[in-house]
Structures are given as structure tokens and as C-alpha cells.
């Protein structure tokens, strides 16, 4: 167990060092969320106090998601381009341990997306969240982080076996912003799309996060947290099957780098 923790820590450390010197990472956690936050704040600060939270936090959530999910998966794609993907599969350390280390560094940098976006809201638009409930907000952010972590860990092996997975999942990115209600409530969506939102764990965590930032009497935090955690547990169970499939497929086809 200690050896696995040490391997995950090393993957975290190396991954973090590579990201700190990567301009792509700064684009994802600094520039990209600020653009979304500026658009959201520009439109939402003048449309009522109950909607300001979507402008203040929306850009940060989008940046957090982008770094956690895409940059985490892209780190596997980078291994392919650098010719080290085979080594990662062949070492005695299980793939998911290395992936966990990589994803944790993504989450750490992803959380930093909230710093420039909240700063922009406060200094640029004089927007604040006076009704924020700190305890519920912290728990909701923790649940959101966990749900992002589980999705990233579950989907990352797809990047290893199919190089087109990055393009396809990148194509789905905007759809996820809307389906999970990152910048507007999912009640805005057509009714036939909303059931898909309910199957995504970040939807429930995001709903709880916004409710804690802007108190609403009908908020049911415990149910929303449990829904997010329950769906994450299901994703985690499915990811075990996916890891086994990916491991077997890589060994059978022998086409890891060229897949």
C-alpha cells in the first residue's frame, strides 16, 4: 500500500512540475475561466442579485472542470506523443495509481481557477456573495471536487486506448457546461434534456454549490450531496471494468502508441 501511495505521489509531483511550466495549463486555469467569467458577469450582474452567483462562480467551475477532465486526460495523450505510454502500462504499478496522481495535480491547478474569476468579479464588477453559507459551500465544493476526480479517473483510460477520445470528449465539453448547470440552472434546458443532467454527478454538486452561495429556502443539500456521491460511486464501479478492459485491450492488440 505504501508503495502505491508513493507511486501516486511521484506521479502527482512530476505531473505538477510539468504543468507549472506548461503554457497550455495557464491557458486552462487562468485565461479561459476569466473569459467565461467576464462574459457571465457582464450579462448576469445586471439581471438580479439571485443570478450574480452564476457570474461569480461560473467561470471558476468551468475552468476547474476543464483542467480536471481534459488536462488530466491530455496528460495520457502527452505520454503517447512522448513515447512513454508503453512504459506506464508495463510497469508493475497499476495504471489507475498513476492516473490518480496525475488527476490530483489537475484538481489542484483546477481549483486555482476560482482565484482569478472571483477576483475579477470583486474588483472588476463589484460583485460579491454576501449570503454565502461557508460550511455548506465548503462541503459542496468538496463534493464537486470528488465528482470531478471520479469522472476524470474513470474517463482517462479511454485516452490511453483511443487517440480520438480526446477529440470526441473535447467536443462534448460545451455540452457538459450546459447539462451540469455550470453557468445557469438546468431548468433553462429543454425538458427532454434534463433527465440526462440528472445522471451527471456534477449537476447535483453544482446545484448545492450555488444554493449555498445564494441561500434558497427550497434547497435540499443533503439529498443533492448524496445524489452526487451516489452517482460518483456508480462511475467508480464502472471505471474498474473500464480499466480491466483497457488493460486487456492494450495487451491483446499491442497497438498502444498507435491506437
Amino acid at each position: 500500500m505504501r508503495a502505491l501511495v508513493r507511486a501516486a505521489w511521484r506521479a502527482f509531483e512530476v505531473s505538477l512540475r510539468l504543468r507549472v511550466v506548461s503554457p497550455w495549463t495557464y491557458l486552462n486555469w487562468l485565461l479561459f475561466p476569466v473569459i467565461f467569467a467576464a462574459i457571465g458577469l457582464f450579462m448576469l450582474t445586471s439581471s438580479g442579485i439571485d443570478r450574480v452567483a452564476y457570474g461569480v462562480l461560473g467561470g471558476g467551475i468551468i475552468g476547474f472542470w476543464s483542467v480536471a477532465y481534459l488536462d488530466g486526460g491530455n496528460s495520457i495523450q502527452d505520454e503517447r506523443w512522448q513515447g512513454t505510454l508503453e512504459q506506464i502500462f508495463a510497469v508493475p504499478t497499476p495504471l489507475f495509481v498513476i492516473v490518480i496522481g496525475k488527476i490530483l495535480s489537475s484538481l489542484l491547478l483546477g481549483l486555482m481557477s476560482f482565484i482569478p474569476t472571483v477576483a475579477l468579479a470583486y474588483f472588476g464588477f463589484h460583485a460579491a456573495l454576501p449570503g454565502l453559507d461557508p460550511v455548506r459551500f465548503a462541503v459542496s465544493l468538496g463534493v464537486l471536487t470528488l465528482s470531478f476526480f471520479v469522472i476524470a479517473v474513470a474517463l482517462t483510460p479511454l485516452f490511453a486506448v483511443w487517440r480520438w477520445a480526446f477529440t470526441v470528449l473535447n467536443g462534448l465539453e460545451m455540452a457538459v457546461y450546459g447539462l451540469c448547470g455550470f453557468m445557469f440552472p438546468i431548468s433553462q434546458l429543454p425538458s427532454w434534456l434534463q433527465p440526462i443532467s440528472y445522471l451527471l454527478s456534477p449537476t447535483w454538486a453544482t446545484r448545492a454549490l450555488y444554493a449555498s452561495a445564494n441561500p434558497t429556502p427550497s434547497a435540499n443539500f443533503v439529498s443533492w450531496w448524496l445524489a452526487a456521491l451516489g452517482l460518483s460511486a456508480i462511475y467508480l464501479g464502472l471505471s474498474f471494468l473500464l480499466y480491466r478492459f483497457v488493460d486487456a485491450r492494450a495487451r491483446v492488440t499491442g497497438q498502444l502508441a498507435l491506437a
Binding site: W164, F166, T167, G171, E173, M174, M183, L189
Partner: protein, 102 residues
């Protein structure tokens, strides 16, 4: 005629390699799903912020942005990717016309 052939080959290779469009699924996701999802996202954000009366404004604005992004980003990425892959010196060293090969 040779320059036309070089233009054709360059166009095909960039289609295949530029955005790693190795499969039709990837192409559809990037060129159909992503733009449609972007329009829907910003239209819904705009409707949430300003009401349903401005939906067409947000849809048209995003369509224009997506079209411009495809043209500008695609052209820039051709040169940037050559540099990233280490093939820019080979491209510049080749006798092919700069205009048709990029």
C-alpha cells in the same frame, strides 16, 4: 500542375493530422457537436440573463464567432503544429511553394 498537386496533398494531410481527426466520429464531435453545443450554451446563458427576446442575437453572434474561429485558429494551428512536431524546418526547407503548402 505540380503546385496544384502539392496543394491537394497538403490539404489532405492537414485534414487528417491537424486536429487528430483520425476518425469521422472525432470530426463530427469537433465540427458539429462542439459548435452546436456552444450555440445552445450561450443562447441559454443569454436567455437566463436577459430573457428570451435576445435568443436570436446570441445564436447569430456565436455562429459568426465559430466560423471565424475555425478559419483563423485552423490556419494558425497549421504552422504551430509543424513547429510542435519538429517538422517546420523540413517544411521551410522543401522546394514547395509556401502559399500552397501552408
Amino acid at each position: 500542375m505540380k503546385q496544384l498537386a502539392a496543394f491537394g496533398r497538403s490539404t489532405w494531410l492537414q485534414y487528417v493530422a491537424l486536429f487528430q481527426w483520425a476518425t469521422p466520429l472525432g470530426y463530427l464531435a469537433y465540427k458539429v457537436l462542439l459548435p452546436v453545443a456552444q450555440i445552445v450554451f450561450f443562447v441559454q446563458l443569454g436567455v437566463f440573463a436577459t430573457g428570451p427576446g435576445n435568443a436570436l442575437y446570441f445564436a447569430l453572434g456565436n455562429s459568426l464567432q465559430i466560423a471565424a474561429n475555425g478559419a483563423i485558429f485552423g490556419v494558425i494551428a497549421t504552422v504551430a503544429n509543424e513547429r510542435h512536431n519538429g517538422t517546420l524546418p523540413l517544411l521551410l526547407g522543401s522546394p514547395a511553394n509556401r502559399l500552397v503548402s501552408s
